[in-house]
Symmetry: C2
Subunit: 234 residues, 2 copies
Amino acid sequence: MLKIQTVLTPLLLQLHDLTGKVVVVIDVFRATSSICVAFAHGATRIIPVATPEECHRFEAEGFICAAERDGKPVEGFALGNSPFSYMESRIKGASIAITTTNGTQAIELSKKAAVVAIGSFLNQKALCDFLIHQQRDVVLLCSGWKNNFNLEDTLFAGAVANELKNDFALADDATVAAMDLYTSAEKDLSLYLRKSSHAHRFVALGIEKDISFCLQQNIYNIVPVLKDEFLILP
Amino acid sequence: MLKIQTVLTPLLLQLHDLTGKVVVVIDVFRATSSICVAFAHGATRIIPVATPEECHRFEAEGFICAAERDGKPVEGFALGNSPFSYMESRIKGASIAITTTNGTQAIELSKKAAVVAIGSFLNQKALCDFLIHQQRDVVLLCSGWKNNFNLEDTLFAGAVANELKNDFALADDATVAAMDLYTSAEKDLSLYLRKSSHAHRFVALGIEKDISFCLQQNIYNIVPVLKDEFLILP
């Protein structure tokens, strides 16, 4: 039986051999949610880059540039990391370069995998169908917060595990724990996540509506994947 | 308010500054449980060491030597890692040198803390009282399995967080998650842990009775702490 494993923070990815596997990169608040929004609103391709400086270099090539650090948009960039900013009309047909505190680094670390897919509550069902069709072992990579564990990414890993538990073996304790946390929280994810450290940060940043938006399940029937350097819709 | 944080595997300890804090080292199956058993049966001092070779060197000085790797006793040593072996009459008054796959490494990594204490379900209540009296921030360090997350150590971290939640702020998402896992599992820890990867290993090793023993709560009213190189009862 194919296996699902969960990596609770990028720092733990070094314990895993990704060869031949699908990695799902998860950064619920907000990189992978915003990436889904962008594709759902017509973005053509998105390149995840490591630094704001690198991001700027793509501007000359006609990319829209997006940068976030510590939960805030970086000055001098057209976009930050709020999902709502990826709904604007200029997104249609656009190429986007993006750098964020956690999510884009996690994508970079995943490149040894056979397939890298983008996961969020927004595309949960589409992602699970995609994973079943891949017929490969799956690694759910939680981006966390600066290499620390966070609740929201773990909950989403648990949601995927819960949906795929009849198709895959849950192959490590992290996946079991994530699924159990999800099943205890699923009735009201938003209420549950008020306990999370990120939620406190979000209130401080005044962007609570982003939380509510990112916790909607299955509003987009798409799965962004990495092809060469770019995220695209296959 | 003083804070509790939880480190889900030793690999994540690098994200924490331990200065001035109490670290509780947790290796439920079985190092920290066995250490509690040894002190409860009259051991005088225990030195945790990194390798079986280093462990052997203490034999000449009259130490009883204990070594475990991959869940099995290492050949040529008087003791392994089963709690039952620490109940024998020769333990009374003994100095013990011990090396295990996960627990003793976690103790080594904790030495920058102001206080290093040993935690297990067996001494849960005594540990919690001790932590309240210390009046320091607390870091609960789960030894995990070869740097991977495991359920049993996380459940114990959650048990401590649950008992101390009115005395300390639960200061990170890992502590919240651990507490929620514990409260969903506490009715029958043994049943819950049948889902864990370690339980499967234990069945394979034929040492399931060690699991049941290590899941007993509050049978010993002691808290082993590190003083210089040695674990002792203060």
